[in-house]
C-alpha cells in the first residue's frame, strides 16, 4: 500500500522531470503578477489612450488619436516637457559627476572609509516623503536654515519653492542629495576593479592627476557611467514624491513634470484617456533615451 502511493508520487515527479512542464510551473509565479500588473497594463494603457474614459462611467467612446492631438496642441504640455527635461538633466548629470568625484575622493587614504561610505549612502535608504518634508523646512523662505545662512553670508535670500524660478532647483537639489551616494557606491566598485599597475605605469610616465582621470579612469568606468545615466534617467522620469511634497507641481506649473501631469490627469481630473496618453509618451521618451544612450555608448564605452 505504502509502496503504491510512493510509486504513484514518483510517477508525478517523473512527469515533473519533463523540463518543459517544470519550466512552465516555475515561471508561473513570477509571470502571473508580471502579466497582470506590468505587461498587461502596458498594453491596456495604449488602448486607454485611444478612449475618452473618465474612470467612473461604464461607457466610453473610442476617440482614436484625439487625445494625442489635443495633448500636442496644448501649450501646457510643452511646458511639462521642458520641465521634465530640466529636471532630468538637472538631477542626473550632477549625481553622475558628483558620484564619481566622491568615489575618487574615497579611494584615497581616508580614515574610517566604511563609515563615510555608510553616511554618504544613507539618503538613498530613507523615505523620500519624510526627507522632502525636512528639506521643505530647510528651504522655508522665511524661517528656514538655508535662507538664514545665505542672509548671514550677505548673499541674496531666495523665495525657493514659492517662486517659479527657484522651485525646480529645490526639487533637483533634494533628488541629487538622495542619489549622490548611491551613484558613488557603483563607482567605488568600478574603481576597485581598475588594476593598480595601470596607475603605476602612468605615474612612471609622469602623468598628472587630470591626465590619469581623462585617459585611465574615465574610459575604464564608462560602463558604470552608462548604466547610471540610464537608470537615473528612468528614475528621474518617474520622480514623484519630492515634487508632491514640496511643490505639488507648482507654483504655476513650474515643477509639473510629465509624470506629475499624468498623476493629475488621472487622479485629480479623472481623465483616464489623457493620462494614458501621457503615460505612453513617457514610455516612448524613456525608450528613446535608453536606446540613444546605448548607441552613444557604442562609441565611448570601453568594456574590458
Amino acid at each position: 500500500m505504502a509502496d503504491n502511493i510512493k510509486s504513484n508520487k514518483l510517477s508525478i515527479w517523473d512527469k515533473m522531470k519533463n523540463e518543459k512542464v517544470t519550466a512552465f510551473f516555475f515561471c508561473l509565479p513570477a509571470l502571473i503578477p508580471l502579466i497582470v500588473f506590468w505587461i498587461g497594463p502596458m498594453i491596456f494603457a495604449f488602448y486607454l489612450s485611444l478612449t475618452n474614459w473618465d474612470l467612473m462611467m461604464p461607457v466610453y467612446d473610442m476617440v482614436g488619436l484625439e487625445n494625442y492631438r489635443q495633448l500636442f496642441s496644448d501649450p501646457r504640455f510643452y511646458d511639462t516637457l521642458w520641465n521634465t527635461l530640466y529636471f532630468t538633466v538637472g538631477s542626473v548629470v550632477p549625481a553622475v559627476i558628483g558620484g564619481l568625484l566622491l568615489a575618487i575622493l574615497l579611494q584615497g587614504k581616508i580614515i574610517a572609509k566604511t563609515f563615510h561610505r555608510t553616511l554618504l549612502f544613507s539618503p538613498w535608504v530613507t523615505p523620500l516623503v519624510a526627507m522632502a518634508i525636512v528639506w521643505s523646512w530647510l528651504f522655508n523662505p522665511r524661517r528656514g536654515l538655508i535662507n538664514f545662512i545665505l542672509g548671514s553670508l550677505n548673499l541674496p535670500v531666495l523665495p525657493w519653492a514659492s517662486s517659479s524660478t527657484w522651485a525646480m532647483p529645490v526639487v533637483i537639489i533634494v533628488s541629487v542629495w538622495r542619489t549622490l551616494g548611491w551613484a558613488m557606491v557603483f563607482y567605488l566598485v568600478a574603481l576597485d576593479k581598475i588594476p593598480d599597475t595601470i596607475y603605476d605605469a602612468a605615474k612612471i610616465d609622469g602623468a598628472t592627476f587630470w591626465k590619469k582621470l581623462r585617459y585611465i579612469t574615465l574610459p575604464l568606468v564608462s560602463p558604470t557611467t552608462l548604466f547610471l545615466s540610464v537608470v537615473l534617467t528612468v528614475e528621474a522620469l518617474r520622480a514623484f514624491d519630492q515634487i508632491d511634497i514640496i511643490t505639488q507641481g507648482g507654483p504655476a506649473g513650474a515643477t509639473r513634470t510629465l509624470l506629475y501631469h499624468y498623476y493629475q490627469s488621472a487622479f485629480q481630473r479623472f481623465n483616464a484617456g489623457e493620462a494614458a496618453t501621457i503615460g505612453i509618451i513617457i514610455l516612448l521618451i524613456s525608450g528613446v533615451f535608453a536606446i540613444a544612450q546605448f548607441i552613444i555608448s557604442k562609441k565611448y564605452v570601453h568594456y574590458q
Binding site: E19, F121, A130, L188, V234, I282
Partner: protein, 286 residues
C-alpha cells in the same frame, strides 16, 4: 639622512592627506545634516523652531513632542502596515525570483531567452505608466484599498530576478549533475542546492526591496483609502497636511518624520554591507 626635498615632499603628502580627510568629513556631515536638523528640530518648542536666527540645539529637549505626535496619529499602526506589507512582498519576491531564475538558468525550453529579454525590458519601464490600468485591474478584482492589493501588485521584482540569475549561473554544474544522478527533482535541486548557495543575494535584494517598499509612496497613495490601511509614507503625508503644511506645527512634523526615518536608518546601519554589495555588485561588466 634625509634630503630637504624628500622632507618637503613628505610634508606636502601629509597636508594633502589632511585636506582629503577633512573634505570627505565635511561632505559626509553635509549629507547627513538633514537628518540631524530633523532630529534637533523635533526636540524644539514652537517658539524655538520659529526663532530667527535659528538655534542649533533646543534649550531643553522637548521629548514630549514625540508623545504628542504619537497621540495625534496612529504611527504604530502605520509602521505595522508598512512592515507587514513590505515583509509579505519580500517573501513573495524570494519565491517568484527563485523559481523564475532557476527556470531561466537551468531548464531548456522554447522562447527562454525571449522571455528573459521581455522580463528584463520591464526593468527599464517607467512603472507609473502602468498605474492607471493597474488601478482599474485592482478595482475589478475588488482589491482596491486592501492589503492583498498592495502585496500582489508588487509580487515580482525584476531587479531581484536579475541578481538571482547572475548568481545562479555561477553555481557549479558538477553539483547539479551529481544531484541529478542521485535522482533529485528540480524542486529539491533548487531549494537544497541553489538557494543555500546563493543566499547572500537573496538577503541583499530582500533588504533593498524591503526598503523600497517601506518608502513606496505614489502607488499606495492611489490605491489605499482607509486610514487603518495607511502605509507609513501615506500616514506621514496626511499628518503633514493636517498639521498645516505651511509651518503651523513644525516640531511635531519633524518628530513624525523622525519616527518614520529612524527604523530604516537603524536597519541600514546594521546591514549596510549587504546594501553596498547589492547596489555596487549588481553585475555591470567592466
Amino acid at each position: 639622512m634625509e634630503s630637504g626635498q624628500n622632507k618637503r615632499y613628505r610634508l606636502k603628502d601629509k597636508i594633502s592627506k589632511i585636506t582629503l580627510n577633512l573634505s570627505v568629513a565635511v561632505i559626509s556631515v553635509l549629507m547627513v545634516f538633514p537628518f540631524l536638523w530633523m532630529f534637533t528640530s523635533a526636540l524644539k518648542t514652537h517658539d524655538e523652531i520659529r526663532a530667527f536666527p535659528p538655534s542649533i540645539l533646543p534649550a531643553s529637549p522637548q521629548w514630549g513632542n514625540f508623545l504628542e505626535t504619537w497621540q495625534a496619529a496612529p504611527f504604530n499602526l502605520y509602521i505595522f502596515n508598512s512592515f507587514f506589507t513590505a515583509t509579505a512582498i519580500v517573501a513573495l519576491h524570494v519565491i517568484t525570483t527563485a523559481f523564475f531564475a532557476y527556470a531561466i538558468t537551468q531548464l531548456t525550453f522554447r522562447f527562454r531567452n525571449l522571455l528573459f529579454g521581455i522580463v528584463m525590458a520591464t526593468y527599464m519601464l517607467p512603472v507609473p505608466v502602468t498605474y492607471v490600468p493597474s488601478y482599474i485591474i485592482l478595482s475589478r478584482l475588488g482589491w482596491l484599498d486592501t492589503y492583498q492589493g498592495i502585496i500582489f501588485s508588487n509580487a515580482v521584482s525584476v531587479f531581484a530576478i536579475f541578481l538571482a540569475r547572475q548568481s545562479f549561473l555561477q553555481v557549479p554544474t558538477e553539483l547539479v549533475d551529481a544531484a541529478k544522478v542521485d535522482g533529485a527533482t528540480h524542486w529539491t535541486i533548487l531549494w537544497k542546492i541553489f538557494f543555500p548557495l546563493t543566499k547572500p543575494i537573496f538577503i541583499t535584494f530582500g533588504l533593498i526591496n524591503f526598503v523600497l517598499m517601506y518608502n513606496n509612496y505614489l502607488w499606495p497613495l492611489l490605491i489605499i483609502r482607509s486610514r487603518e490601511l495607511y502605509l507609513i509614507t501615506i500616514g506621514l503625508r496626511q499628518f503633514f497636511i493636517e498639521q498645516g503644511a505651511y509651518g503651523v506645527n513644525w516640531p511635531l512634523i519633524m518628530a513624525a518624520s523622525t519616527i518614520v526615518v529612524t527604523p530604516l536608518l537603524i536597519l541600514f546601519f546594521i546591514t549596510q554591507k549587504w546594501f553596498v554589495k547589492g547596489v555596487g555588485g549588481s553585475g555591470i561588466k567592466g
